[in-house]
């Protein structure tokens, strides 16, 4: 059954969609029936910019196992990256753009 359960999180970042790169401020995360995958259920993430109306999105559909593996690899990449580069200050969507 399709549910309406969506985990929503604010984020700071960019994603490349059908119109090229775009700022994103929201991820909608859910585990439900896919649109494209043949799996019965997928972990789906829609990256959007709600501040700009949320009409464009970058979408992914992952199997449950691969989604869990991805979460682990994201955390591992952050840990090793921050060890190498130092932990950055919290990012803000409203931070001024610094032109070097």
């Amino acid at each position: 059954m399709c549910s309406y359960i969506v985990e929503k999180t604010a984020l700071v970042g960019s994603a490349k969609g059908r119109k090229g790169w775009m700022r994103i401020d929201t991820a909608n995360v859910y585990f439900d029936h896919p649109y494209h995958s043949t799996l019965d259920h997928v972990l789906a993430i829609d990256f959007t910019n709600e501040g700009e109306g949320g009409r464009d999105r970058v979408a992914i559909e992952l199997s449950a196992d691969s989604a869990r593996a991805l979460v682990e690899r994201i955390l591992a990449a952050l840990a090793s990256g921050e060890l190498a580069h130092g932990k950055p200050a919290p990012a803000s969507a409203n931070a001024p753009v610094v032109v070097m």
Partner: protein, 258 residues
């Protein structure tokens, strides 16, 4: 069983809830005959290719079928993008969907090829909507609920402004014969929930028939998913067409006269 290999399918405009005008897909046999109508209610992910194929399947079997795009108010983007936005917004209110289903029924009855009978079928969340329509709309001659979950709502917290009433609580108002198709491995609705729904229908003396399939879960008609179970799906489609043939033929007896 008659097959109508000459058919016409196309997007059309219809009037839905509040008189809003939106898009629907309409397919019917080519010919001068009178045909029963079927409203096809899509699932939550949206008005996708599979649901359009279902509309054409009904036309192939001699029905004038229409599937209203229940998210047409969201614009003309691709159905999957629109479906994602609707999901993020918590879905569409039941009242609006009932208005759109009623509008689609009116569209069918207004066509010169209509025999006057109209059935409804829904899949997944559309199965729930179909159950709801059969209990709240007048003019449905037969309804088919394909694995609609949340007909029974065990946790009252799952009710909200958009979905304020559990369909099971409206069963007393069910006004047409109901066919239910379910997979025993489904988790929403579970086999227990299907049994409890049937118990209510039985207690209230409603005209219904339920078919349960072993080795099948949710959405087992859907040929584009791993959930597809060809043997069970073929039998399920036979049940659907036999049901509609009995109930929607021009000579079918109204339920009140049985």
């Amino acid at each position: 069983m008659s097959h109508y290999r000459g058919l016409q399918g196309e997007p059309v405009m219809f009037r839905g809830h509040n008189g809003d005008q939106g898009e629907a897909y309409y397919a019917r046999p080519i010919g001068s005959g009178k045909y029963p109508g079927v409203v096809v209610i899509h699932h939550l992910p949206g008005w996708d290719e599979w649901i359009i194929e279902v509309v054409r399947k009904f036309a192939h079997h001699g029905y004038a079928a229409i599937s209203p795009h229940l998210y047409f108010r969201e614009g003309s983007d691709s159905p999957d993008d629109i479906g994602a936005r609707v999901r993020a917004a918590g879905g569409v209110a039941d009242a609006q969907i009932m208005g759109d289903v009623a509008g689609a029924m009116a569209y069918l009855r207004a066509q010169h090829n209509a025999n006057g009978k109209v059935g409804a079928i829904g899949f997944c969340s559309g199965g729930r909507h179909c159950y709801l329509a059969a209990c709240t709309l007048s003019g449905i001659d037969a309804a088919v609920d394909c694995w609609g979950g949340n007909v029974i709502v065990d946790n009252p917290k799952d009710l909200n402004d958009k979905r304020p009433v559990a369909p099971i609580d409206l069963t007393e108002k069910l006004s047409c014969p109901l066919l239910g198709i379910f997979g025993n491995d489904d988790v929403n609705p579970t086999a227990d929930q299907v049994n409890r729904t049937e118990a209510v229908l039985k207690r209230l003396g409603k005209n219904y028939e339920f078919h349960r399939y072993n080795g099948a879960g949710h959405a087992f008609f859907n040929t584009s998913r791993d959930a597809y179970r060809p043997e069970q799906a073929l039998d399920g489609w036979k049940k659907v067409f036999a049901f509609f043939e009995r109930r929607l033929a021009a000579s079918a007896t109204p339920i009140a006269a049985e």
